[in-house]
């Protein structure tokens, strides 16, 4: 059993708020940013969801059974909340899946500069929600394929496919705007 799962189980047994604080401090920033990116949310929107996620952590203590790691369970809740936020919002224009330009040239080597970071963010927002979630969990959280599959409740092959198509579409979209 990993450390954080052990801490959460102990929190469930004792109700000691210091244990909750340990988990909260460990995950709050990561969960907040994960939800912001998956759901294309503003900071206040993501904070509302963060509050809901950690209220669930408080309420479910004592009921948690370690079938999955605490972090997997936490990210599953966060990802589902972000998906719901996307669905509750008006539909945005999705990236054209048939847009690939095989002959586009010029490496996208300036994406880390301030202005282009905003472009990456916009491109990410235009991906479908599952590709976006897989990319965020992989690139930002450095989750393994199997962890992403557990969080998103799909197969490892599906995760690989989501990552591949997500990256390819993001590249196409960025190329269209940077060339």
């Amino acid at each position: 059993m990993d450390k954080d799962t052990g801490i959460y189980l102990e929190y469930g047994q004792t109700g000691n708020p210091a244990l909750f604080r340990k988990l909260y401090d460990e995950y709050k920033v990561r969960v907040l940013n994960t939800m912001m990116r998956i759901g294309s949310l503003s900071l206040p929107e993501a904070e509302d969801l963060l509050q809901e996620v950690f209220m669930k952590v408080i309420q479910e203590r004592g009921r948690f059974t370690p079938r999955a790691k605490f972090s997997t369970w936490l990210y599953r809740i966060a990802t589902n909340r972000a998906f719901n936020a996307v669905r509750d919002r008006k539909p945005t224009v999705a990236m054209d899946e048939s847009l690939e330009d095989e002959h586009a040239q010029g490496a996208l080597d300036l994406l880390v500069t301030g202005e282009n970071r905003e472009l990456v963010k916009k491109g990410l927002e235009r991906l479908n929600e599952r590709s976006r979630a897989a990319l965020v969990l992989r690139e930002y959280e450095e989750k393994s394929y199997s962890e992403i599959a557990e969080i998103m409740e799909c197969s490892v092959e599906a995760v690989e496919s989501l990552l591949f198509h997500g990256r390819s579409r993001l590249r196409e979209w960025l190329k269209g705007r940077m060339s």
Partner: protein, 157 residues
């Protein structure tokens, strides 16, 4: 193998999930295919771009709210399903209280109405004077008890 197969390998290599034998196959293809080479370079940039996104932090108010919630639930049992249902419907709580109060009042009024409309209950609830008292009263005030009561009122006035 098609270009797309190699590009899938590029994606797996970015995730450090490409097996060694596939890595050699991919590198051989990239050396020979300029399009896939550009694709691989772009993918590296996309990855860098994604990981360089700025990070936000939750406000102190959110921290405080959650840490207080964790504090107030210390030593208490975890919320039951009913607690959570009520917690999810805070706006309905006052109306639930009003409904409960209305039910209690309704039950009381219904029970009283039943007793008053049922003679056996009326005898049990409303105390009447005994036959002996009525006879004595009638001796002092000839006529009906109702008339006698009228006499008593007149005397007091």
């Amino acid at each position: 193998m098609m270009h797309e197969d190699f590009r899938k390998m590029v994606s797996r290599r970015l995730d450090r999930a490409l097996e060694a034998k596939d890595k050699a196959v991919l590198e051989a293809h990239l050396a020979a295919c300029p399009e896939c080479r550009v694709y691989a370079a772009d993918m590296e940039s996309v990855k860098k771009g994604l990981t360089a996104l700025p990070e936000e932090r939750p406000s102190v108010a959110i921290d405080r709210f959650l840490l207080e919630k964790a504090q107030t639930t210390e030593g208490q049992r975890p919320a039951s399903i009913l607690d959570r249902l009520l917690g999810a419907l805070p706006a309905l709580r006052p109306s639930l209280a009003y409904a409960a109060a209305a039910m209690v009042i309704g039950a009381f009024a219904g029970g009283l109405g039943f007793k008053l409309s049922n003679p056996t209950h009326r005898q049990a609830v409303v105390p009447f004077i005994s036959e002996e008292e009525a006879r004595l009263f009638d001796a002092d005030y000839p006529g009906s008890i109702a008339e006698a009561l009228g006499e008593v009122r007149k005397e007091k006035l």
